[in-house]
């Protein structure tokens, strides 16, 4: 499956990574819901690190959309929240 790290591009990951990613993602989402900055930072870092670890860069001319998109590692909690609505996207 293809996963995008925002600001870094797409990576190809084995389907088997999905379960672990979902677990890390649940921790991230929970931190955002609780507005818990202390938990948010490491949760996002772990998720991004995992994707980098198990993924390899997708072909640059691959036009397939990503199955999963994750925020950039240095994104603030506020920025992540905006990504969950369409506020974070540039219109057009």
């Amino acid at each position: 499956m293809i996963v995008r790290i925002l600001g870094e591009g797409q990576l190809e990951l084995p389907e088997s990574a999905a379960e672990e990613l979902n677990k890390l993602d649940a921790a991230l989402e929970s931190a955002v819901e609780r507005n818990d900055e202390a938990a948010f930072r490491p949760a996002l870092a772990e998720l991004v690190a995992k994707v980098r670890q198990v993924g390899s860069p997708a072909e640059a001319d691959d036009l397939r959309p990503s199955e999963l998109i994750i925020p950039r590692q240095d994104a603030s909690m506020d920025e992540v929240r905006k990504l969950l609505t369409d506020e974070g996207l540039i219109p057009g």
Partner: protein, 274 residues
């Protein structure tokens, strides 16, 4: 309360929704391919301008870093020279200024690094977008040539959604780089003002040039008492000579001659700043 779905899926849905909205507006998708391609080319231009802007900002910071480093080095030398000349007060002043310059340096170095990494990321984003846009152009021509409108639809959807995602990502990267550049411009402007105010100057070009001039007169690099005394005597000698209206062309050798006959109390006084 949002059902637990995960940040990744929710972000993906936002990106997809945006692409779908654009697709829904199309009647014959084949006609819209060209329009989309134009938009992609415009975004490519924009991201290249963004890279150039960040680079300009980075170079300005680089220039300031060099200037500040030179000031710090100069102040360090001046502090050493002052100490060698036995002027701890001057040395203290020079080191105090150096500490101020160093603070600015450290701060600016951090910002410089972040600007550099932003430039690198944006450059890579520009290259990725270029690849996708090229791929899209090829796909677009194939679709237009080969398929009927109905057949084209599904083939277009995927390519369009894929490139739309890339464009959304690049759009955010540009926005972010613009924000960073604006911050850096403000920061660089503030440092320019500080420099103009003399607060970060070394003691030669700053308002303390009289002190440096004194340091120079004292020959601070050979800070030996005997030599100092000798110089004080010379300075004491030169003062009355100017009052007497001596020839400006008189050589140092000639001035040294009468030094031995100079009045005793003068040298100590002449050594002080006026």
């Amino acid at each position: 309360m949002v059902a637990p779905m995960g940040v990744m899926k929710r972000v993906t849905m936002v990106f997809r929704a945006k692409a779908n909205k654009a697709l829904d507006r199309m009647e014959d998708p084949r006609e819209t391919l060209d329009y989309s391609y134009q938009t992609q080319l415009e975004l490519l231009q924009k991201v290249r301008r963004g890279v150039a802007d960040v680079a300009t900002s980075r170079k300005r910071v680089e220039l300031q870093l060099n200037q500040l480093q030179q000031n710090a080095d100069k102040l360090d030398r001046q502090a050493r020279d002052s100490l060698a000349a036995g002027r701890e007060d001057l040395a203290r002043e020079a080191l105090t200024r150096k500490a101020g310059v160093q603070t600015q340096l450290d701060d600016l170095q951090g910002q410089y690094a972040s600007l550099q990494s932003e430039e690198e990321k944006l450059t890579q984003a520009s290259q990725r977008l270029q690849s996708k846009v090229d791929a899209f152009r090829t796909r677009k021509e194939t679709i237009k040539a080969t398929y009927t409108a109905a057949e084209a639809q599904t083939r277009i959807n995927e390519a369009f959604t894929g490139i739309s995602e890339e464009m959304g990502d690049v759009g955010m990267a540009i926005q972010r780089a613009e924000d960073k550049t604006a911050q850096m411009k403000a920061r660089a402007g503030a440092i320019d003002e500080l420099m103009a105010s003399g607060a970060l100057d070394d003691m030669v070009s700053g308002p303390h040039d009289d002190i440096q001039a004194e340091l120079d007169r004292m020959g601070a690099s050979h800070g030996v008492d005997r030599e100092l005394e000798q110089m004080k005597a010379e300075i004491a000698q030169s003062a009355p000579r100017q009052i007497e209206g001596a020839q400006p062309g008189t050589s140092d050798g000639a001035a040294a001659q009468p030094a031995s006959t100079a009045p005793a109390p003068d040298p100590a006084q002449a050594g002080e700043p006026e």
